[in-house]
Amino acid sequence: MSHLPPQGASPAQPEPAEVESGEVESVDAPPADLVWRRLHPVTPLVRGWAVIAVLLVIFGRQSIENGPENGIPVDGSNWWIFASGFVVVALIGGVYSWLSWRVTRYAYDADAVYVHSGILFRQQRKVRLDRLQAIDIVKPLLARFFGLAELKLSVAGGGDSGARLGFLRDADANQLRNLLLARAAGLEETAEGEVIPEAPESPVLQVPPGRLIVSLLLSGATIALFLIIAGSIGAVIAARSAGPLATILPALIGVGAYVASRFTSEFNFTGAISPDGIRLRHGLLETRSQTIPPGRVQAIRLSQGLLWRKADWWRVEVNVAGYADASDGNASGTVLLPVGSRDEALSALWLVLPDLGVADPRAVLETALSGSGRDGGFITSPRSAVWVDPLAWRRNGYRVTDRGLLIRRGRLTRRLEVVPHERTQSLGLAQGPLQRRLGLTSFVLHSTPGPVSPMVPHLADADAADLLRTQASRARAARTLAGPERWMQATGQHPSPELSSPPPPPLPPKDLS
């Protein structure tokens, strides 16, 4: 409570009191000539509805999980208690949202976005544009009815870093995103009030709804669902009562919710490349269009579950520093391709790493995806690893190219992890007592938080030591050559994807535009 100024002090010295109550760095005070803007006036309504929706979901889940015997039943005698409770909560939520809208203001200049917010605990936040990791435009269902959108700026702070500007009119949000991207890129000719055209893009990836549904049916969640149903039927038959059905209901709801959320968030997925970076659009009810500028992807993983092997489908996920642990719990920001053919998955990899740094990238990647053993320059576990990983020891391995480290893993679930050399954070080796007896060492590459955690398990001692030593110097050399944070200020050596040059892996034949 030390944030709150004492009551008596505020009239005497209002200015310091306000400063005390927020997170303000006096050295970093925003410039005086900023134009402060408010969010769209409908914002409190959309936000307030979200509060009620959350309440309804919690209440619904509680009453289902507790079952009719434990929960408080809603019937004719007490329905008005619940109704008035909802009204009171809605009123409080509405008033709070309105107040919060009143005090929220934002502004931007050539270097940063400033957001002032908070009713009791004031917060003044400055987001530096050269530290921008990604910009998303999120449109929840209700906001779409009003033609509103939320702009999310992600920076690499973890937790609740970055800024959310919501809600703005669709056109304003698009305009602001283009402006911020242009400024973040270091383009100079962006005067105030000028309409910034959206950077041109060429579509690369598209996921038809039918394939998404089939891929979800063939995913691990469905197997879990089947096991749960089969188990419960067995239990019902064995116990000769419907009792076990109630206990599996929460599990069913959990699996169902997971599949449903994957379906709605990955519905109508398209991926495109533009000078601003990778553009992703997806979502059924809540649509999201993401822009990941060049050089912001820290690591990438192509994976294929056992049931996807027949169709040769792959899922592509990335580590982006800003998406680490998004406060809304939606991890879909890290999906680069929910499901796609081998060609499409390789195109997604090309979006991130246009130049793999090998003479014949296609052949190397084929080996990396489905090969095994030491073909194609891969260094795999030695024979002794059969004792610790009998299934995958022939496949686990790595290959170094001029631009990145390729890590191949897994026999049942196939994985390929690629880390560009300049994105290496730190490196490590680890060895347990059993591994030491077998002469094995695991190599770990530390990346920013995300779905991809690259490591090569059970290498021969000499190979692991060699990889650690050479990878440290390769990462160092690559860092000195890496492009600038403001990606358009680059000179010749910048790894910006050239729109004119065709991707090494062939694009799907059908016309996507």
Partner: protein, 179 residues
Amino acid sequence: MTDESASDLHVPVSAPAAGPFDPEGIVWQRVSPRLVTARLIMLAVFLGIPLLALVVLAIALPGAGPWLWISAAVVAVLVAWSAIVISRQVRAIGFAERDEDLLIRKGVMFRSLVVVPYGRMQFVDVSAGPLARKLGISSLQLHTASPGTDATIDGLVPSEAARLRDRLASRGEARLAGL
């Protein structure tokens, strides 16, 4: 660049004979042996006191059967084992400052080695609890943008920790890169 590639040439291509956790040409700096004392005191608090309580109970309740003595013996073996391992563990901790990165190794049974480039450092923590302050040691932790980087050096003499912190910070600033 030319300097780097030249120095790389001097490193033999084959792995050093000492194993992957002892790269060739690295002189490990050791931590203070007072860390052994600190860890032994922690061991005494968390295992020694329960052991004492068990022994007292076993003497006070002779009719309780052999189970109290057996569990006391188990705890005693655990204490003895930990006491032996602790001094070996502390002796296994080592760090080395290279031109471009910091190496930290630790562990006897489960060994690990971490290489943290100075340019990847986001911030450095130096911390010391009440016991560590009494014994005159502190621990230093390097943070990168990755939560997986486990780069902690326990048992540094405070002056050494402060010196290392300042040097790491200045080296990190000189080599700072984006994410």
